[in-house]
């Protein structure tokens, strides 16, 4: 009989922790901090896949680590929040409730499955003043921490946190808060320990706006983000709006009820012409008779 290999529970937990920590440290970082007008969420992200998103009216979500895993958690959060808001009232959806669900879920995954989730997430809830803002950091093993106004996640989070700890100011306005966040993220990862200057293309930025009624979450991207990063204060409210809210494609030239593709409903006759062009009947293909005649 083969000898059963024994690993102590301590060893198993340590291995899993190390595995998760390594995975998280490989990715780019994210910071979340409160400022006078709300909560600012900034992630270093050059892709179009989101690390930051809206969960509910006053609740935002930021994550680092493996995309497929935190995307799973994000969807679960949106579903849970919408389910509770639908069955009770929108006011009854809280960041703490969500943080509890995440900590339970991540904790169970960490102890019960072979591979822990390689993620670290932040649930942020904006309040009426910076003192009432809530930031929850939930790590791969399900432990949860209530952070005091700012937090950093991902690779070299400790170094980024140090920058934030020194200079974080809850009375700062949005350009100042964003400048600090960008500087903190750029303080690591440069060659030979040099700082980097991150531009609008490398950052994913959103705020939970304290003054906005209802859904407080809004993304800042494109021209509005460039202006803000350059220290511009006067950002019109409209440009700050949900830049990706509009449906990606313009409406097709077909009735709404038709489930067929646009070319089959072709009102203008262009598609029919284009199709005819593909196999032009005026030029018979060679060898139609099989003998080249």
């Amino acid at each position: 009989m083969a000898m059963q290999f024994y690993a102590s529970p301590e060893q198993v937990q340590r291995d899993r922790s190390e595995y998760a920590r390594k995975g998280i440290a490989r990715g780019r970082s994210a910071v979340v901090l409160t400022y006078e007008g709300g909560i600012l969420l900034v992630a270093e992200n050059i892709t179009t896949l989101r690390k930051i998103s809206e969960i509910y009216d006053k609740i935002g979500f930021a994550a680092v680590g493996r995309y497929n895993e935190f995307e799973n958690l994000r969807r679960a959060g949106v579903r849970m929040a919408d389910l509770n808001g639908y069955s009770y009232d929108r006011r009854d959806v809280t960041g703490r409730g969500l943080a509890n669900a995440y900590t339970q879920t991540l904790g169970a995954i960490f102890t019960e499955t072979q591979k822990p989730y390689e993620v670290e997430i932040c649930v942020a809830q904006v309040g009426a003043s910076p003192e009432t803002d809530e930031l929850y950091r939930i790590t791969y093993d399900g432990s949860v921490m209530d952070e005091p106004g700012f937090m950093a996640m991902g690779g070299q989070a400790e170094a980024i946190s140090n920058v934030l700890r020194e200079r974080h100011d809850t009375a700062a306005d949005l350009p100042a808060a964003l400048a600090l966040a960008a500087e903190a993220l750029g303080s690591v990862g440069g060659e030979n320990g040099q700082t980097r200057k991150l531009d609008a293309k490398q950052l994913e930025v959103a705020v939970l706006d304290r003054r906005r009624k209802g859904r407080a979450f809004r993304r800042i991207a494109g021209a509005a983000l460039t202006t803000l990063l350059e220290g511009g204060k006067d950002v019109p409210e409209k440009e700050l709006g949900d830049v990706d809210a509009a449906p990606p494609n313009p409406a097709g030239d077909k009735p709404t009820v038709s489930a067929a593709s646009e070319d089959t409903e072709d009102k203008s006759g262009e598609a029919a012409k284009a199709k005819a062009g593909d196999a032009d009947p005026s030029e018979p293909a060679d060898g139609v008779n099989g003998d080249g005649s």
């Binding site: 679960a76 579903r79 919408d82 639908y86 339970q104 509009a246 009735p255 709404t256």
Partner: protein
């Protein structure tokens, strides 16, 4: 709420699976009891057990759409409510009005609102206006069983199209039948018991390219005409200061006319009718 109790405390699978962006579809796994159209009803006609909402009008304008609804709900010959609100935003660029069994209409409206927001959050982008209309048609169809027993509900859907095929048609209106048939309307439409009269009024006064203010006035006029000839539609109530709910959807999003705004319009309409009752 979650169907199966999991002692680990982990959220059940249907929360984390990547299956669907639809809230309704999610509810079929997580909490099917919250879905309309699945409740067994006793045989027979149940039309008289619950209040009915009445007239809604919608008008396409140069900038978007205007939708208005009277404030009455009836049960047989009784007025069940004088101040029910039957026009609501579906999301930040579209509006929904309900006529028919009020309770079922309200549930349909609530579910549709969450459905749109849920999709937007999960996918990071809004549904197209056509997509929203088709989704609502499916939800109305789901109520067909109850409709055949007298608990029918028919919504009116209108919105500002963020990416239209024709830039001059940014405001679009969709109507439905109880079987979930979806029809895009041109210019204006009305649903509910007073719709016959409201539509006749709109037919005579509507012209393409109305401004939002003109369309608001026209909507209140049409509701006045509906209330004039239909007992189930409430007119402007000057003694109690109860006036129609009127909302707009434009490039700036949805807006509900404030008490002052709608009072001013309603008083103008009423004073106009003092001189010319036919409008």
């Amino acid at each position: 709420m979650a169907k199966d109790f999991d002692p680990s405390g982990r959220l059940p699978d249907f929360f984390t699976n990547s299956g669907t962006s639809s809230f309704t579809q999610f509810l079929t796994h997580a909490a099917p009891e919250l879905l309309p159209g699945r409740r067994p009803l006793p045989p027979g006609l149940s039309a008289d057990i619950a209040p009915h909402g009445t007239t809604i009008v919608a008008i396409a304008t140069a900038d978007g759409v205007v939708m208005g609804g009277d404030r009455r709900a009836t049960m047989g010959n009784l007025i069940a409510s004088r101040d029910i609100e039957k026009v609501h935003p579906a999301d930040s660029y579209s509006l929904i009005g309900i006529a028919g069994t009020a309770g079922i209409g309200i549930e349909l409206m609530r579910l549709f609102q969450v459905e749109l927001e849920h999709y937007e959050k999960i996918e990071g982008t809004m549904l197209s206006l056509d997509g929203k209309a088709n989704r609502l048609a499916g939800m109305v169809r789901g109520n067909l069983g109850a409709a055949m027993q007298g608990l029918a509900v028919v919504p009116l859907f209108a919105g500002f199209d963020l990416s239209p095929s024709d830039p001059s048609r940014v405001g679009r209106i969709f109507s439905f039948d109880v079987a979930g048939g979806l029809y895009e309307e041109t210019g204006y439409d009305s649903i509910g018991s007073g719709s016959l009269f409201a539509k006749s009024a709109l037919k005579k006064k509507y012209r393409p390219g109305l401004s939002t203010d003109e369309a608001v006035r026209l909507a209140v006029e049409a509701l006045y005409d509906a209330a004039d000839d239909d007992t189930a539609t409430g007119g402007p109530d000057l003694t109690r200061k109860i006036f129609p709910v009127v909302m707009t959807a434009t490039a700036n999003g949805t807006h509900r006319l404030s008490e002052e705004e709608i009072t001013a319009v309603a008083e103008q309409v009423v004073s106009g009718r003092m001189e010319n009752p036919g409008g």
